[in-house]
Symmetry: D2
Subunit: 124 residues, 4 copies
C-alpha cells in the first residue's frame, strides 16, 4: 500500500460538501453522531429498497435503466453525504481510516487464500 | 453550487481503493450491486451497534474514546469502501451524484424555511 | 380480513419474552425507542451479512445448511426480540398494527393488479 | 426458562398473516430469503427515519404523538410481516428460535453482572 488509496488531495476535500449546507441551516444541533448514524441507516434502507426484488443480474444495469437510474444516484449520494458528515462531526479522517483498514484487510485476506471465495477471514 | 463539492481530482480518485484489492482476489463474481448493497447494510449495522446504547452526548466523543475509537474508524472505512465499490460496479460518478443531489436539496430545503428545524421538506 | 392475522391469544403474548429479561437487569434505562431501533438495525445488519454473498437459490436452504443454520435462527430471534421490546416500550399492539396494515395493503395491492409483479403500489 | 416465551398457541399462528396475502398475488417467486432480508432492511430503515432527529425523550412518546403515531405503527407492522414471512420461507420456527436464544442470552448476561450496564457480554 505505497500510496494513499484516495488521492492525497481528497483528504481535506471529502469532508466539505455537507458542512456549509448544514451550517447555513444551523443543523449542527441535530447532527450528533448517533443521529447521523440513524440517518445513514435510513438512506441505506432506501438503497436496499431499490434492489430488493431485482435479481443480481438486473441489479448490474440499475444505474442505466431509466426507471431506477435517478434513484440509484440519489441514494448513493445521500449515503455518501451522511457518511462524510458523520466522519466530520466525529473528527475522523476518512482517507486515513480507509488506508489503515485496507492494510489490515490485506493481512486478513491474503490473495492466495482469499482468491475465488467469499468466506470470512476466520474461515479461510 | 459553483464548484464541485468534492475537489475535481477526487472524481476519478474515489472509485479506486477497493478495485485492485477485489481484482487481486477475483471477487468481481460476488460483487453485484445487489450483494454489495447487502454488505453495505451489514457495515452500517455494525456502525449502529457502536452507538446504540450511547446518549447523543456520548456519541460526540466516540472517536476520541479509547474503547470505541478504533471500531468507529474501522466501520466508517468499511461503509466508505463498500459504497465506493458499489458506485464503481454501477458505473456511477459519486462526485456528480453528490453535486446534483446537493443542488436539489438546496431547493427542497431553502435556508429561511429549513433553518433550525429537522422537519422533512414536504412539511416545511 | 374477518379474523385477526395473528391468533387472538398472541395479542397479549407477543410483548412478553423480553420484558422480564430486561427488568431483571434493570435495562429499561437504556431501552428508549430510539436506542432499540438502533439495536434492531444492528441485528438486521447481522442477518444481512449472512445472506450477502449467497445467490437467491442458496439463501433458500440457509436454515438447513449446517454452516449457517444456527446463525440464521439466532439473528431472526434477535430481530424479533428487539421488535417486540420496541413495540412494548412504545405501547403499540403489534397484532392490531399488523391487522390494520394488512387491510390497507390489500387495498393498495389489489389481487388482479399486483399478481405476478413486484412493482410498488404507486406504479401498478 | 420453564415455559415458552411466546404462548404455545403462537407457534403456529405467527407465520400465518403474510402467507395467504402473498399466495393470492403469486409473490413466492420474489420472496427468496435474500430478497426478504433486503425488504426487512428497507422497513427497518423507514423506522429509523422516524426516530433519527428525535431525542431519546421524544422517542418515548412517538406512538402517542399525532404526527408520528400512524407511521410508527405502520413501520413496526411492516418489519414484523417481513420477518414472519422470512422465517416462513426459511422454515424456521420463530418461537423456538426465541426460546433458544433467550436461554443462551441468560447465560451470556447473568443478572448480577449485567445489571445496570449496557456492556456487551464479552466485556462484562
Amino acid at each position: 500500500m505505497p500510496r494513499s488509496p484516495l488521492r492525497s488531495s481528497t483528504r481535506r476535500a471529502l469532508p466539505r460538501p455537507s458542512r456549509p449546507f448544514a451550517d447555513a441551516r444551523n443543523w449542527a444541533q441535530f447532527h450528533s453522531p448517533k443521529n447521523l448514524t440513524m440517518a445513514l441507516t435510513g438512506e441505506t434502507g432506501e438503497l436496499s429498497e431499490i434492489f430488493q426484488w431485482m435479481t443480481e443480474e438486473q441489479s448490474i444495469t440499475a444505474a442505466q435503466t431509466p426507471e431506477t437510474s435517478q434513484a440509484v444516484r440519489d441514494e448513493l449520494a445521500d449515503v455518501l453525504m451522511y457518511l462524510v458528515r458523520l466522519a466530520d462531526v466525529l473528527g475522523v479522517d476518512l482517507d486515513e481510516a480507509v488506508q489503515d483498514k485496507l492494510k489490515r484487510n490485506g493481512e486478513k485476506y491474503p490473495v492466495d487464500k482469499a482468491r475465488n471465495t467469499s468466506k470470512k477471514y476466520d474461515q479461510l
